[in-house]
Symmetry: C2
Subunit: 437 residues, 2 copies
């Protein structure tokens, strides 16, 4: 068969990697796909030609992305520009031109995916986005296809490498957050403005996508609870460790009787879980299915060639399905578009989880009794409680409490009351805790 013709938008880190890997492994890929996959038209404002192998084999390179999207010879558009504008317009125009789309754009899919998939559905074209979640790990494929027999119960993932690197440094080296962040920036793992990664926005994009394909609900980015790691203190990392836990920045989505949980936040998890041992910039996604039980998928969540690996896997899939009846293709959100669920995404105060609490209390009799009474009144059961010895000349001591699972609203009420105690200093530190069993 003739090679399939691809138009590429963007020649940055991932775009360059895609050109390089497609060129380098062209024979291997064609042996699998049954035909070649060649980029015939690419668009980029600027690029580092020296860093890209095979760039000279692309017949047309332009600054005008619309020229690629409108190129009648091109069958598949690969969007690697990122961001919302003009990526959304370009993708919608590609779809309108009856072209299939492959994208790594997690922000765009999380925010505008419903609109994009509707347009693709109407036109009978595919939009593939494996590279949008966890880089090179084929987690979209695993969830949509590999686990198709299962009712998914929950998904929990380390889906931001920058945050995981920082938390790993804090634990291994005893660094503070700012120090670990500076280290991540020095190594190129964090941006000059790290907000997107450390405040959980990037993870929220990915988790929103995971929630949709796990449970067959429309993408609802604005309903995803998002909390970053910038307020994690070294003492909490140390106390967690002493109690047999590690703090990981997790994206968690879970199906409950009440609705779907979609939440990104720091989480204490038992050290003995395999995912607790995923360190540095690596990503991992743990999926609980009712038939298969727990499965875990681990690998590089970012980077030029790992992300290119996912983009090209999508290209092979789309190439294979070009002649397939649209009804028989894998649905965008794993479930048939007419069979999506209207299950509600829960607000964070409706979520049920366990907690780690650190309370600065006066070292005097009766304080623990006051705290445990408040927790009891809010129906919160205590799993463990540790009161540290006060340091010389200091009159307040940290009280660490691990609770059993409770609705977050109950916990908020209890924390308000605890903070109102005369014998308690400042705010209560609260970190959610999951057993992942």
């Amino acid at each position: 068969m003739k090679p399939v013709k691809v138009g590429l938008l963007g020649l940055g880190t991932v775009g360059g990697g895609t050109v390089t890997v497609l060129h380098r492994n062209a024979a291997e890929i064609a042996r699998r796909a049954g035909r070649g996959i060649v980029i015939t038209h690419a668009a980029a404002k600027a690029y580092n030609a020296a860093a890209i192998t095979g760039l000279d084999r692309i017949p047309k390179i332009t600054e005008d992305a619309y020229a690629v999207v409108d190129d009648p010879e091109v069958e598949i558009i690969v969007e690697l520009i990122g961001g919302y504008d003009p990526a959304l317009e370009l993708i919608l125009r590609a779809i309108d031109n009856d072209k299939h789309v492959v994208t790594a754009n997690k922000a765009l899919i999380a925010k505008h995916g419903n609109e994009i998939f509707k347009a693709a559905q109407d036109k009978g074209v595919m939009v593939a986005f494996e590279a949008a979640v966890a880089g090179g790990i084929p987690i979209i494929k695993a969830l949509r296809e590999g686990l198709a027999a299962n009712e998914i119960e929950w998904v929990a993932g380390i889906i931001n490498g920058t945050g995981n690197y920082i938390l790993t440094e804090m634990r291994d080296q005893g660094r503070g957050f700012n120090d670990a962040l500076a280290q991540a920036q020095a190594l190129g793992y964090a941006e000059a403005d790290p907000t997107f990664d450390v405040e959980g926005i990037d993870a929220a994009h990915k988790l929103t996508i995971l929630g949709s394909i796990a449970f067959g609900i429309p993408l609802q980015l604005d309903r995803t609870y998002t909390e970053g790691i910038s307020r994690i203190e070294p003492q909490d990392v140390a106390y967690a460790d002493a109690l047999g836990y590690r703090i990981k920045h997790l994206g968690i989505t879970r199906k409950t009787q009440q609705g779907i949980e979609q939440r990104v936040h720091p989480t204490l998890i038992p050290k003995r879980r395999l995912i607790a041992n995923v360190d540095g910039v690596m990503n991992a996604v743990l999926v609980m299915g009712d038939a298969v039980g727990a499965t875990l998928y681990y690998g590089a969540g970012a980077g030029s060639k790992p992300t290119a690996s996912a983009v090209i896997a999508d290209l092979v899939d789309v190439t294979r399905a070009l002649t397939t009846d649209p009804e028989n293709r894998v649905p965008h959100l794993a479930f048939q578009h007419h069979a999506l669920s209207n299950a509600r995404v829960l607000a964070i105060d409706e979520v049920v989880t366990a907690y780690y609490l650190r309370i600065q209390a006066v070292d005097q009799p009766g304080v623990l009794a006051d705290i445990t009474r408040i927790l009891g009144d809010s129906h919160i059961s205590i799993e463990a409680i540790i009161q540290k010895e006060p340091m010389e000349g200091v009159h307040h001591v940290p009280v660490i409490i691990l609770t059993q699972r409770i609705r977050e609203q109950n916990m908020n009420e209890a924390i308000n009351k605890i903070e109102g105690l005369d014998s308690v200093y400042g705010a209560v530190t609260r970190i959610r805790l999951e057993q992942l069993d």
Copy 2:
């Protein structure tokens, strides 16, 4: 669309699980697949009806497997009988009857897969076998599709849960092999005759399949080197631990300039690797791709419902591809049948790996010099050497040596010479060692 009609051969552990999960998750599966998947005809000599949910919804249950394979209404045959006879004949007859096949039969695919795939190719039907390797983990899909962009460099997997349970018990509880095996048998993790699992035969079946789909070579079970764990001693587990390693029973397949390595044997691997922390009956497969780097896939490698999860995922895939042009389906061995490689599978003495050696030597001057001279003469570099203190009244001491990578033939020669030394007692214990980096 009308439900797809499936014929099921075998109502044992996996067959029963398949009926149960297909029934329980029927709505969820249909929401994904776009149509129902129903078993209309099943065959089994005997079964435990009470353990299978949804059995009463199967219109026809017979003792005659050939009646199912010849049923003109059935589109897909699921073979869950296991073994070679009559499974091979049934599958070939199903193919001859233009039916697609889903099987969990690793022994059959590893030994007769080339013949089966040739017949399927000629007839334009699919034979899917996700459940044949690592149970519920979608590793076949990951390798054939998710990592399609990559030149695979190597694959290393814990692909036998029984063996992994025994090694985990030996490490955690300090048990001997026989003791740990008895424990595994008491818990139902090992058969009364455990040969198949502990001698690596089951793992060799799975590794043979992994090697073929990783590198696009025909299945060559008889070329897979197979060594079990029954000779692992508690002292080796302890010495490995002290040196920062764990002993795992791995299946390893690797592409080299000289050919393909396909080998199953106990292996020392660094403790800090994620796969070294896969314990108990769980399975995991680590894949190194040239673009994506290392990815790992973890989950239950056996059991009724986990294996059913993989069987049903295959049913969904086959259902989707029913109307697809055979040329555009995912090839059985990942690479197009006319593009398979004739790369040679290497004999074990051609393999290059590092080694752990334990030598029982007389506690006298000059012994270490003799041993290290022999290793040096065979071009074997020493990574670490530990000589233990002799116990009171004992005149021989264990010498532990970790070597760098060397061709196994060189190591065999060196071991022969070491065993010939007057100052060395008995056989040298040799366990291969891989850094997996």
